[in-house]
Amino acid sequence: MLACVTTFALEGVSSHEVTVEVDVRRGLSAFTLVGLPDRAVRESRERVRAALLNSGLDFPQKRITVNLAPAHVRKEGPSFDLAIAVGVLAASEQVPQEALAGRALCGELSLTGELRPVRGALATALGARRCGYASLLVPEDNAPEAALVEDVDVRGIASLARIGDLLHGRWRPERARASEPPAEGVDERADLADVRGQEDAKRALEIAAAGGHNVLMIGPPGVGKTMLARRLPGLLPPPGFEEALEITQMHSAAGIGSGRLATERPFRAPHHTISAQGLVGGGNRPTPGEITLAHRGVLFLDELPEFGRAAVDALRQPLEDGRVTIMRGQRTLDFPANATVVAASNRCPCARPPDRCTCTAGELARYLRRLSGPLLDRIDLVCQVEQAAPLELVGASDGRHRSEAVRKRVVAARRRQQRRLAGTGALCNGDMDGRLTRREVPLDAALTARMLQARHRLSLSGRGYDRVLRVARTIADLDGREALEEGDLDEALSYRLDGLDLLAA
């Protein structure tokens, strides 16, 4: 007898359909697994055999051949266990084959027959929806996450013993419900108002949030750069449902998800010793990197000059395209990677105040050269962080900088941008490339003259010019104006990245 069962294999952060074909016929007792299985999949034979027997089901003493199709793609991990076990049951006529039509399943088996949760349940459910499967069986622990995909009838099952009843139609488990997301609203623990002083950085973060710009903060260590960056996710607009689904999918695929729908944007702060692969993803078994885990959120690079050159350079493509493309054998994998980058740096290697700095010009140049490069091209705003004055540490927190209030202004500004940029592929000002910037930020004669003068005197490069326009546009959006004013350009000019890239020359 031959039986076919559908399951999904996690590849990167998305999943693709795998058909498990099981053939059971008379012959010498054997259990063969073909179709490029890796070690964990091959071991599945032992788990399936023991799980079936321990669940009171029959393991046929016949010649069993299992094929995982498509056969040319390498199969990894234990999530095929359930499909193989059910395939054996169907091929040995212990469950009806018709019950498998239009149904996909996945799960890892323990020897007792219990189902263990797998990574990437959400990606599996999304795959089921894409491939037109109406019903999905997953381990009970994965059910709330998979149920986030509403068009698929997700049922969670606890053990293999009941699968026979289920497929015979003698038992129907409850349809799984998505777990309630935590209450909406800004995380109370990370309110911008808690940060005293740092007015300049707060303003820059507000602009960054409003326009999706990348920021570089410069200042001495230990004055709250991390604290400030951690508050940026709370300033960004709350993620919409589709965005939240994407965030959850990334985290679930990396095995760090909470099983609930993410309602907060991620904040990732990798240490500066991270490798290029850790930052953008990849590897023999491609796993998402930090930039993908920060998708739709914030990637914080503290001590930017200390990061490896290769790691920082690897960020160039994802920051430009919003996605990471990884070649692996004959296949190309795409990881979404649309994050706002906040970088932080000391002003010089010794990090002492200017009057006590002992760095030589050479040391300084080397330090800044490490800071320069492709990443700086994607940074629109440079701001200062400072040693807070003692007086500021005891003052009352002010209302203007409550994250809630800032987020309201940011949301309004983003709405303007979405209206203006509809149909261009860009979602916010920070997404605009040079050509789009010049088309969407038209300058009248007076403003053009102003920019020409500034460009001449400040030696702005072409890209620097575009950056100023983008930031000026966001400042006007924050102010609720469609018309750009001189003041917007002036303020944007003061955030420009000058000196750093030039001093390093």
Binding site: D200, Q384, Q453, S459, G499
Partner: protein, 372 residues
């Protein structure tokens, strides 16, 4: 007038140095005055010393060089070449044993004449000065310029740039001597300053257009600065440092060396205080320099014609301008000018692009010339 009247022999020598630049860099480790001895060698000796077994190949390549084409290319790039046999060649440079065969220059040829008429002063110092050093360098540059004295410096970060800016503010003749071709901007962030000096003064180099700087070309450049100036003032210098190399050259040429006294505890005053101990002329302001050049009281600093520097009309811009001179942090500037951070940022952007302020190398701002 044809700017490229440099003779073939001199041009040949200049291009030989440029062709050997990479090899010289390999031969000399740390930048020292030794480079002067090397550049004083005759063509044959220089090639033998630097190129070793490849000497013949280098000479062959030099023979094959089409000097006419080089002349044409540089003329199109707006660079002039003045050789030792030209009447425009600065006579003071002839004192150097290893005077450059050709001076490549960007700027108006007629300004060279002004270098003949007035004794020039070189102002050199550290690339990472203190606010004190910066202030002194600026006021020296401006005061000397106002008194009609050309100011020679190296367009480097720190003191050099500040001296050039002061000279420009005083309406004087700035002379920048580069360690690379006169058309190459190094460091790159001085693009704007390079342009202003070229427009209102001279940018000089012994290296042909397009040559990039080498470690040895900085001390080599220093000998030209020392050679062009009647007097060299060192404003803040560590020990050892490039500025002390310049003062060594000046002393070897028998020119006056002056230094600005600094804090005895400061690292970047060790060089200048050491010079003073060894008998350099102490300088507290432009008047000291003028007294030394022309005799006591013979020439005074004119009551600064461009002082106070121009200021914007807008009261907020003015408040921010004053505040920016005193503070390095935007938040502090905003508090001092009694305005919001956003408004202070806008005002700073405005003041910079209007030319009232320039960013300092290490953070903060300083007053600039103002709109032209």
């Amino acid at each position: 007038m044809n700017g490229w009247d440099a003779c073939d022999a001199c041009l040949r020598r200049a291009f030989l140095v440029a062709m050997l630049a990479g090899r010289i860099a390999g031969l000399l480790g740390r930048p020292t005055t030794r480079v002067a001895g090397l550049l004083a060698l005759t063509e044959r000796d220089l090639v033998a010393a630097v190129a070793g077994p490849r000497a013949d190949a280098v000479l062959e390549a030099l023979d094959a060089r089409d000097l006419e084409r080089d002349r044409r290319a540089a003329r199109e790039g707006g660079v002039l070449a003045i050789c030792r046999h030209s009447s425009d060649y600065p006579p003071l440079l002839e004192d150097l044993a290893d005077a450059p065969a050709v001076l490549f220059m960007a700027g108006e040829r007629s300004t060279l004449a002004r270098l003949h008429e007035e004794p020039a002063v070189a102002i050199v110092g550290t690339r990472a000065p203190s606010p004190y050093g910066r202030e002194v360098a600026y006021s020296l540059g401006r005061g000397l310029a106002a008194a009609g004295v050309p100011v020679v410096s190296g367009l480097a970060l720190g003191i050099d740039a500040t001296a050039h800016r002061g000279c420009l503010a005083g309406g004087g003749l700035p002379v920048a001597v580069l360690a690379c071709g006169p058309d190459v901007v190094y460091p790159r962030r001085h693009r704007g300053l390079h342009r202003e000096v070229r427009e209102r003064g001279l940018v000089l180099s012994e290296l042909p257009p397009g040559t990039h700087p080498f470690r040895w070309s900085f001390p080599a450049r220093n000998r030209i600065m020392a050679g062009l100036a009647r007097l060299t003032v060192v404003v803040e210098a560590a020990d050892p440092s490039g500025s002390l190399i310049t003062s060594d050259f000046a002393r070897d040429l028998g020119r006056s060396v002056a230094a600005v006294p600094g804090h005895v505890t400061s690292r970047i005053a060790r060089g200048t205080n050491g010079l003073l101990r060894d008998g350099a002329i102490p300088v507290t302001g432009p008047a000291d320099v003028l007294d030394e050049l022309f005799g006591a009281g013979a020439r005074a600093v004119p009551p600064t014609p461009q002082s106070p520097p121009p200021e914007p009309d807008d009261p907020l811009l003015r408040r921010v301008l004053y505040a920016a001179e005193r503070h390095e942090l935007v938040a502090a500037v905003a508090a001092d000018a009694r305005t919001s951070v956003a408004a202070a940022r806008a005002a700073l952007g405005r003041l910079e692009s209007d030319g009232y302020l320039v960013r300092r190398d290490l953070g903060g701002w300083e007053r600039a010339l103002g709109p032209p």
